[in-house]
Subunit: 325 residues, 4 copies
Amino acid sequence: MTMEEKKYGVLVSVFSPCGERFLPAGYKSDLSLEEKLERIAATECILGVELDYPTDFEDPTKLKPLVARFGLQVSNVEIDLFGHSKWQYGSLSSTDKKVRNEAIELCKRGMDGVVELGCNQISLWLGQDGFDYPMQVDYRSRWQNIIASIKEVGNYRADVNVCLEYKVKEPRTHIQLGTVGKALSIANSVGLKNVGVMLDVGHAIMAYENPAESAALLSEFGRLFYVHLNDNFGFWDDDLIPGTVHLWETLEFLYWLEKLGYDGWYSLDMFPYREDPVAACVQSVKNIETLIEIARKLDQEKINLLQEASNATGMIDLLRNAVLK
Amino acid sequence: MTMEEKKYGVLVSVFSPCGERFLPAGYKSDLSLEEKLERIAATECILGVELDYPTDFEDPTKLKPLVARFGLQVSNVEIDLFGHSKWQYGSLSSTDKKVRNEAIELCKRGMDGVVELGCNQISLWLGQDGFDYPMQVDYRSRWQNIIASIKEVGNYRADVNVCLEYKVKEPRTHIQLGTVGKALSIANSVGLKNVGVMLDVGHAIMAYENPAESAALLSEFGRLFYVHLNDNFGFWDDDLIPGTVHLWETLEFLYWLEKLGYDGWYSLDMFPYREDPVAACVQSVKNIETLIEIARKLDQEKINLLQEASNATGMIDLLRNAVLK
Amino acid sequence: MTMEEKKYGVLVSVFSPCGERFLPAGYKSDLSLEEKLERIAATECILGVELDYPTDFEDPTKLKPLVARFGLQVSNVEIDLFGHSKWQYGSLSSTDKKVRNEAIELCKRGMDGVVELGCNQISLWLGQDGFDYPMQVDYRSRWQNIIASIKEVGNYRADVNVCLEYKVKEPRTHIQLGTVGKALSIANSVGLKNVGVMLDVGHAIMAYENPAESAALLSEFGRLFYVHLNDNFGFWDDDLIPGTVHLWETLEFLYWLEKLGYDGWYSLDMFPYREDPVAACVQSVKNIETLIEIARKLDQEKINLLQEASNATGMIDLLRNAVLK
Amino acid sequence: MTMEEKKYGVLVSVFSPCGERFLPAGYKSDLSLEEKLERIAATECILGVELDYPTDFEDPTKLKPLVARFGLQVSNVEIDLFGHSKWQYGSLSSTDKKVRNEAIELCKRGMDGVVELGCNQISLWLGQDGFDYPMQVDYRSRWQNIIASIKEVGNYRADVNVCLEYKVKEPRTHIQLGTVGKALSIANSVGLKNVGVMLDVGHAIMAYENPAESAALLSEFGRLFYVHLNDNFGFWDDDLIPGTVHLWETLEFLYWLEKLGYDGWYSLDMFPYREDPVAACVQSVKNIETLIEIARKLDQEKINLLQEASNATGMIDLLRNAVLK
């Protein structure tokens, strides 16, 4: 692998025990943050690390040298608005002003923290802000709370980007900030330059989106801030290795990221329950690198003509010849 | 049934032979428009009729007395941007400027037509504006075309509302204007008062939306213009009789329409392949009326408290007692 | 509630902290088995308790008096072939003969144990016997292993029923024993009187089955041994309170259980992450009782005529009048 | 392409106008059977033709020379139990003995017909034998009818194979013979050597099956009789060109067909609404040929070791290197 590898990142949670509800303790032993960073460095192809605040760290001044010691950079910090039972009925959308304010304050502290880490971005995944049953919540006031809270967070400091990560379900049966369209509507409505969207490929796929199309739509409004790569079988956030199910869509997504001039991180968000996480990362990057190389060799002129004509059989011919051995 | 019935509408296509790909000629014989209107009047509970322009009529001056003869009103006119092979690769998004302009002109003529019919609204369902295969189209230029075309249509005359009807798939495997969030983003981005959204309950459900939440979100931005009622099994636009699958969500949707102050039509969009369409309409209205009556009797104060607390078990108790015999 | 309540059971895991991958420690504190049984008794409507062997108990002679102390009975014992990382690549289907034999021996010990408990049944949920990625396993040898293992378990002692619980996915992206048809094929192929099927309503729904139809099919072959009640949104095993999403299908399922002469337990398998489990059980039983009462009052003769004619609108009319207030 | 091409077949319906419910007349003009056969011959890579009896032909003695004239063979004849409104509430499962007998007689006449055509197989796709709404039918008697009818058909003459083609939905919202497991259960229960299963890859995928696993399971019981190739997005029978969505599963399926010793036809069942059907067939065969060639070059020994260990990352490495350029 070459210099391309510089842009790859990974969530440290990829190196967690990968617990799930039938095996909460997970499929492997727990590692310290230092051990996780060491493993990430051991992939030899990943430079960026995504951490959760405050789950992974509380004091950025202590974290900074630790990350640097392994030759890594902080690519993004997600704010933990989902991994504690206090958020079980919502964080930024909570009907309880105290809870809502606690969530907002956590975001602000996170924003201050990332600046110290030399990173200019936080991400908000509102995984608990939703509902499980029909009639469980008042959608109107919850949408109003979401919009107002994000506005307050975005306004806190303009030098830090706020990435909204959408996902249609899990751990709630319905998450409000669920699709690219909802995330874009909210980001546009908030109307701040530093509020945009995190496109998680698997989240897009489980919402029956074509990830490349979602990227193009976000980019059209200047809201494509960051991407997570992974894969799944279309119904659930399986968090598999990129390209192992949706090969064509993954190729297309990587092709479009370059076409759209996206120059941010390519970050891995996976749950390798039964796999060695280092191997999972290496295979992920190899899959991505291979597909990027293929994408770059595609005949642009032919593609333009075929797409102009919506010529599916011509495109299938072109792709088979360009992609398959 | 009572005066409530006044607000019910139906698409005349409900009275079509209901052809599908394995039986294109359909499950029953074809009727003339006059015969269809007669059947609609025979339901004795439906006042509004939705027609397709120009499939169902070309000359509004001839249509108007025909509709009036049966004591009906035109509740909406959908522009046929999907039912002719010339739109097979898109209408308002087409890469072919000639096709795109033809689509835009058709919308404008439709807007002029509805005014003559005493109706102030057209709907645009961009069912062919999408793609079937990965890599088939250039998403960016197509989104730009969609936005520009809708803007031009909306600007044509401010006295006619333009309703964007979203749907995630069929007849394309992917339709661009697919979800409530995308429709809202586009409507907001166009930024005209007369451009809003048609919420088809079945389309919402097949996109894993909660229809009531979609209504609340659209309403928050003043974009909830019109609703279609029907039901399905969550994966496809089965176009079944309302409330026959998603009872709780249908009840909730009707409850929220009143809560949001929606005072428009309650229009039926179904494909009763094997059912008598008159019976299907009557059962639909009876289901809706029954659920509206139940919704109105719900204890608002209790609901507010339960929703404030996201109290699912309390809500389930309340609903069982209020809804089931 | 009346004597009907006698047949209700519940899995003790309903009273677990309900951990999931984003909150492995769960939404509430851990309880001892004794505390869980106490809570179950506190529902005052549940008699049967399902336990996991050996997770919940190792020594049946110690368990028996504990269960009896709370006035409960053991309705079923599931063998833990999924909740330990040693099964991560399969238990009864494992390519490793040692693992496979360990699984088989565990089943046999469980069978001996249930007899001591005055229960005549174990259930096998092969949640880890599957695959996550295409090409990951050799399907043929795994199916052969599944069949041979189940045969050996079933043959171990004829006085204990062996219930195969099918589920299409989770924790693997694909579980081999996934659908009613596969479970029935395997049970029939094993060809033992004491090998049958556990029908979990939520598992049926997430496989796009109609649970009543699955029950009827199993019953036709004498393989309907036990049922789990719960609900979900059709895509995932949300493990919600029964009847809160699929009201009509739940009613139909309860109607068919009586029609088929099913006289076994009605057991609750839920994951009430954010709900009080006692309240969740009480609401479940109330929903079920209400629907059973409604089902019993349905006009059988009319139903027969309507079903003879596949008359959907007639049935909808009948159901609305019989079910809704 | 080489001699491999000899085994390819196609349904003549691929050359239909491809009508659907929004455009029943279809996207292209209607062709005579002769014209369809001419187009099939023009693909220069397809030898087998699947026809529908009696829709495509009534008199086999007239059909035989027509097919031969184009150098084609009849690979399979499907009995039309779905494309006429008389079957709208079921054919072999109908509650109406007259309808049921008519369906059975049609199958028998079809069996006689195929023998005259030098083909030894009919296929039964029971697309109308199901239900649209909860409570619409009596599942028990319908399953009994399905089993009894298939038994009668299978017993009619042992020299003709009867292939059961399963599909989970469309045109009914629920088809009884829906999954590989149900089809296998029924075929096994009927217990005749000449009754087996047609595996349509798209139908398997829309039922969340892995097609290779379904093939292996059927083969284990000697019931894998015939295959249809196509692709879709997992939720609906999109009938796309094979390998254009599920590349890995298609490769795996082709790999397994050879591993299982399947030596029957590779038949295309697609609906190329907007594509030239000749081009769609040629691209399909090229995709399949390419994937078969890749599959044959896979390192069997390595695969065995990796599958023995369920080693996903190892397999992903092997596949990327073997498949992608």
